[in-house]
Amino acid sequence: MRKIRVLIAKPGLDGHDRGAKVIARALRDAGMEVIYTGIRQTPEQIVAAAIQEDVDVVGLSLLSGAHLHLFPKVVKLLREQVGDKVLVIGGGIIPEEDIPILQEQGVAAIFGPGTPTSVIIDFIKEKVGAKLQESSKEA
């Protein structure tokens, strides 16, 4: 029985976690195992937790504007440790024009406020499924 494991974290200093918790619950209701690590996490903490929990996805929520600094930092640290194994997605208050910059740096997608949770769920299932197929071909 293989479950998709997701880490939801809030890097940086903002404490508004309602959105993150809504996503966490939605993913749980979609059958995933969601580890919620809470607010005020440093990129190092997020990555260390992601590794111990061996997650498939890291979801970052940020409302304070520091996304261009913190999201790529998480991607970089993850890549150093586990290569491209983990899907990184983000949400919160992210201006449209920043999205392509983030994607270029390895954030797979940004889901802003109002995104239907079904969109996020389908995205995760599709991408994680694809990664699994890839790795079983390598094996």
Partner: protein, 328 residues
């Protein structure tokens, strides 16, 4: 892959530990292979179960306890188990939230696991994760589970010391007496002890617990803690070490562990037989016959088991396990 993973594991890689736990949890053949190897290297660690109703502050208490253990230079592993939703199959694993400070501590490994439908609260994978952490070199391995009545029973089957955490205001006296959870605790903790009604709970527990409630010769202590402030946690560690000494010096630790091993083996046999039978035998025809009252369920079960174990018993088969005859 297995060799590479084991090599990294022996080098102290947390990434390898995490991967191994995942392989075991997903019932991959590599997971089973590795578990068998690591089991042989386990047995040095001491397992502490921390259980109690939701909201009692177990995770906060675990966090404080681990910090204290770290100050004594112990290497600590934590497995935090939360229930899987029976409707969606998903789970919200929220214990880690309270243990953020420990994430970057090199001497601590924390893994959140879902019960994955296992009714007793502890999945097989969670139990196996304890073995992995033991083999990894953890001096203490803490397993934290939500307990409400019977679902705490599992943790008693796995831990050397069981700490039961409760809080005032839950109407615990009736709950505790009803569910029989008084019999599984070696140490009782009343957390959030700064609440006015905490004294009542402490007194109730002290009056109810007797020496020999769980283990002959041991009177479970009742402790007060205010976990978020770290108050009383030193007394908790003291009590755990005292219980451990008691078990070791009275010679009870070994037989208790052997009994748990026996129970584990029996459970695994049941699970394997169940899986094998379901996979290899077409039960539909037998179910039809039982439904139409041509057969009864007891006979169906007996017939199926006889396929594996003849009515004459096993002696006829002369089972040999690794060269040693073990059928009576």
């Amino acid at each position: 892959m297995v060799e590479e993973l084991l090599k990294e594991f022996y080098q102290g890689s947390k990434k390898a530990v995490a991967r191994i736990i995942t392989l075991i949890e997903n019932e991959e053949p590599e997971g089973k292979e590795i578990l068998k190897v690591l089991y042989k290297q386990s047995g040095r660690g001491y397992i502490v179960g921390i259980t109690g109703p939701a909201g009692a502050g177990k995770s906060t208490l675990t966090d404080a306890l681990v910090k204290l253990m770290r100050r004594r230079d112990y290497k600590v592993g934590v497995v935090a188990v939360d229930p899987t939703s029976p409707f969606t199959g998903g789970a919200l694993l929220g214990d880690r939230v309270r243990m953020s400070d420990l994430t970057l501590d090199p001497g601590v490994f924390i893994r959140s696991m879902a019960s994955r439908g296992h009714l007793g609260g502890l999945s097989w994978a969670a139990r196996d994760a304890l073995v992995v952490l033991d083999a990894f070199g953890c001096d203490y391995i803490l397993v934290e589970t939500v307990g409400a009545g019977q679902s705490q029973v599992d943790v008693a089957g796995v831990a050397d010391t069981v700490v039961l955490v409760t809080v005032p205001g839950l109407g615990d006296d009736i709950q505790a007496a009803k569910a029989g959870i008084m019999e599984i605790g070696d140490i009782f903790v009343v957390n959030k002890a700064d609440r006015g009604d905490a004294e009542q709970v402490v007194r109730y527990l002290e009056n109810t617990l007797e020496q020999g409630t769980k283990t002959e010769g041991w009177l479970p202590p009742v402790l007060k803690t205010v976990a978020w402030r770290g108050e009383g946690v030193d007394k908790l560690l003291e009590a755990i070490e005292k219980h451990r000494s008691f078990l070791e010096q009275s010679g009870r630790l070994e037989p208790l562990r052997k009994m748990r091993l026996k129970e584990e083996i029996i459970e695994r046999i049941e699970k394997l037989i169940f899986t094998r039978l379901i996979k290899e035998i077409h039960m539909e025809e037998l179910i039809e016959q039982a439904y139409s009252r041509q057969l009864d369920p007891l006979s169906v079960a007996e017939m199926l088991v006889e396929e594996i174990i003849p009515p004459t018993g096993l002696a006829g088969k002369r089972i040999k396990l690794q060269g040693r005859a073990c059928a009576k």
